[in-house]
Amino acid sequence: MLLGPSLAVSAVLFVIGAAGVLLRRNAIVIFMCVELMLNAVNLTFVAFAQQLGTSGQIFVFFVMAVAAAEAAVGLAIILAVYRHKETVDLQHINLLKG
């Protein structure tokens, strides 16, 4: 596998994810976009690991573990917010401000 195309794909995925986080309002969608960004990073790690050794692959497992934990906590929070406000639209969730 070539390094260049792998990095290009991961960059595209990362930008799509970032754009989704920036532009979408639904918390679930934003959450999925964050996952997309994490996986783009994973792809980068794996691509580099081919050339530089296995440490990059170990990092991928760390990222997956953290993403799993994040998914558990994040979804629980979104669920709690929904029960409280009947919406997951982030425009309406803006109580914490100066």
């Binding site: 920036l22 425009q91 401000k97 100066g98």
Partner: protein, 654 residues
């Protein structure tokens, strides 16, 4: 001589014990008196031993005891060091000796006072600082004592602080002294700059080499030192605090404001005689201010009715004499007058204390509210207080310069020295004339005081008269001792002219020789000296006779019915309006500037407005700006976050 540290340490111990008692058991008056008087007597005993050892050893220079380091910065090394030499020996004996007598007197005078323990604590502390002042082996240690006695003076003037007048008088003394102390500090800085040392021995050894005689440097040093002396020793222009200092208890006036503290300036000039010998211009100032003060204060004393105020102005006047002496270069004469003045002025003050005590008791017994210190309320007291009257007459004749009492010898020596200096610089003939005029006035106002207090009919009041009583033995005892000293005190320095040995003069030679070598004093012919003595005695006797002839105590009326003063008498009674003058040209402008400029503009405007409130306003505004960023919109946060990451990365990658 190794025991010298005990001399100041004993009064300090007394202060600590008495201060503890004052806080814990203020009513334990027996213990307080035992401690207060005991430490002073012990200190006097140790002082005598030290002085005897010094007389036996008879060293060339001062004996310095270095105890521990105090300031050690760069090339500046100042240690806690005491110095025993003939000058400090004389001062130690005066301070502890007269101090002990006054402590004994205080036991009787302050017996009824609720602040008894506090009083003795302060008095002991004062003696400690005074001994530090005279025993210090360098300028800073002396300065600590100098400030310390100022503090005790403040505390004791305002001893009855519940009355505002007394507290104000204490504050006035403190502030006036600060002005002088500033001069002392500047002088110390200059001394260090030019000689690189502050130890007396070093400074005086190096001074003739590094400070050109008559140069600007040594003149500035001595003039700043003298500014310090005018504050502490109540000379023109800083003398006005001393008469007000009479607000304190009378034994305090005797100890601090007559016998010891106010003579610190004279001591300092004598101590620095080398520096003054190098600065003839400063000598003119010292002698001139002294002579002028002697006359000026004497004129004010002519018209005062408060018995203590007469004595206060008399003290200012006599201090002027001492400065005339040391300014002339006659250090021994100045110190001689310091010693005799300590005897007779302490006696006069304690005598006036006995009078006030009796008057106060009488008014207290009948619940009358008249001024116990106003001479117009006295009169004829000699039949009620015969001992006090007799002893005070001795002191009066001594201060008036009647031979062979002590004051005659010391005053005559100063005047003779001033006259002799006139041969070199004619200005001293003028100073001599001023001193002579002051001598005449001294004899006059002292006789006036005695006449109005002890002679003529009694004006206290018919009901009060029966309660007028001589003071108890504990008060009369010290008076008798001081009376003997006032009478025969002259023997310590009998002039060679009358066959004496000029003992004090020789004793002080190790201290004064260096200065005397730089500025030799001219000798007077014996004939001239006899003529001067004749003139001085005639002047003194003339003053007494004039007072006896001109004043009629039976014409006086009690203070409450007295007519107001008019004309020139009023000017003198109002002290030449000097207090009012200072009030107008210094106090009021300073207060005005403080209130309008410093308070309303600088404090309220700049410090409060721009400083304190300004800082608050600015941080609040910044906080408001920051809080605008907290929108609560997650999208906004993410945008800021991403922009930030891109910014950081773009810098990192480049």
């Amino acid at each position: 001589m190794d025991l010298v540290w005990l001399v100041p340490a004993l009064p300090l111990l007394g202060f600590i014990l008495n201060a503890t008692l004052a806080l814990v058991r203020p009513q334990a008056k027996t213990a307080v008196s035992a401690i207060g008087v005991g430490v002073l007597v012990a200190a006097f005993g140790v002082g005598v031993l030290v002085v005897r050892a010094l007389a036996v050893a008879h060293p060339e220079g001062p004996v310095v005891f270095h105890y521990w380091d105090w300031i050690s910065v760069g090339s500046l090394h100042v240690g806690y060091a005491l110095q025993v030499d003939p000058l400090s020996a004389v001062m130690v004996l005066i301070v502890t000796g007269v101090g002990a007598l006054i402590h004994v007197f205080s036991v009787g005078y302050m017996r009824e006072d609720p602040g008894y323990a506090r009083y003795f604590a302060y008095l002991n502390l004062f003696v400690f600082f005074m001994l530090l002042l005279v025993l210090g082996a360098n300028f800073p240690v002396t300065f600590v004592g100098w400030e310390g006695v100022g503090l005790c003076s403040y505390l004791l003037i305002g001893f009855w602080f519940s009355e505002k007048v007394n507290a104000d008088a204490g504050m006035k003394a403190f502030v006036m002294n600060r002005i002088g102390d500033c001069g002392f500090l500047v002088a110390m800085f200059l001394i260090w700059q030019y000689t690189g040392s502050l130890d007396y021995e070093d400074v005086f050894a190096k001074a003739p080499a590094v400070l050109p005689a008559g140069g600007a440097a040594v003149t500035a040093i001595t003039l700043f030192l003298f500014l310090g002396c005018t504050g502490k020793s109540a000379q023109i222009p800083l003398y006005t605090w001393l008469p007000d200092a009479m607000a304190g208890p009378t034994p305090v006036s005797a100890l601090i404001h007559a016998a010891t503290m106010v003579t610190a300036g004279v001591f300092l000039v004598a101590r620095s005689n080398v520096l003054f010998a190098l600065a003839p211009a400063a000598q003119v100032v010292v002698a001139g201010v002294g002579a002028l003060t002697a006359l000026f204060a004497a004129t004010i004393a002519l018209k005062q009715w408060d018995i203590k105020r007469v004595l206060a102005y008399s003290t200012v006047s006599q201090l002027g004499y001492m400065f005339l002496g040391v300014g002339t270069g006659a250090m021994a004469a100045g110190i001689f007058h310091l010693a005799t003045h300590a005897f007779f002025k302490a006696l006069l003050f304690l005598g006036s204390g006995a009078v006030i005590h009796a008057m106060h008791q009488a008014y207290h017994a009948t619940h009358a509210h008249a001024d116990a210190q106003d001479m117009r309320n006295m009169g004829g007291l000699r039949q009620f207080l015969p001992w006090t009257a007799t002893l005070m007459w001795i002191a009066t004749l001594a201060i008036a310069g009647i031979p062979p009492l002590s004051g005659f010898f010391s005053k005559d020596e100063i005047l003779a020295a001033a006259f002799a200096r006139g041969a070199l610089q004619p200005a001293w003939y003028l100073f001599w004339g001023l001193g002579l005029a002051a001598a005449a006035l001294t004899a006059f106002y002292m006789t006036r005081m005695m006449l109005y207090t002890f002679h003529g009919p009694n004006r206290t009041g018919a009901r009060e008269q029966v309660h007028l009583r001589e003071a108890p033995t504990v008060m009369i005892g010290p008076l008798v001792v001081l009376g003997v000293l006032s009478a025969v005190g002259g023997v310590i320095n009998l002039p060679t002219l009358v066959g004496g040995g000029a003992w004090l003069h020789h004793w002080l030679e190790p201290v004064t020789a260096a200065g005397a070598a730089l500025a030799p004093a001219p000798e007077l012919a014996h004939n001239t000296e006899w003529i001067l003595i004749g003139v001085a005695v005639a002047i003194g006797a003339g003053g007494i006779v004039a007072a006896l002839r001109l004043l009629d105590p039976s014409a006086l009326v009690p203070a409450a019915q007295a007519p107001p003063e008019t004309g020139f008498a009023k000017v003198l009674w109002k002290k030449w309006y000097v207090d009012e003058l200072y009030d107008t040209i210094i106090v009021r402008p300073v207060l005005w500037v403080s209130r309008t400029l410093l308070w309303r503009v600088v404090d309220v405007g700049v410090v409060d407005g721009a400083g304190v409130n300004g800082a608050a306003v600015v941080s609040r505004a910044l906080g408001w700006l920051g809080s605008r960023l907290q929108t609560g919109e997650l999208g906004f946060y993410v945008v800021v976050f991403v922009v930030g990451v891109i910014a950081v990365l773009s810098r990192a990658v480049r």
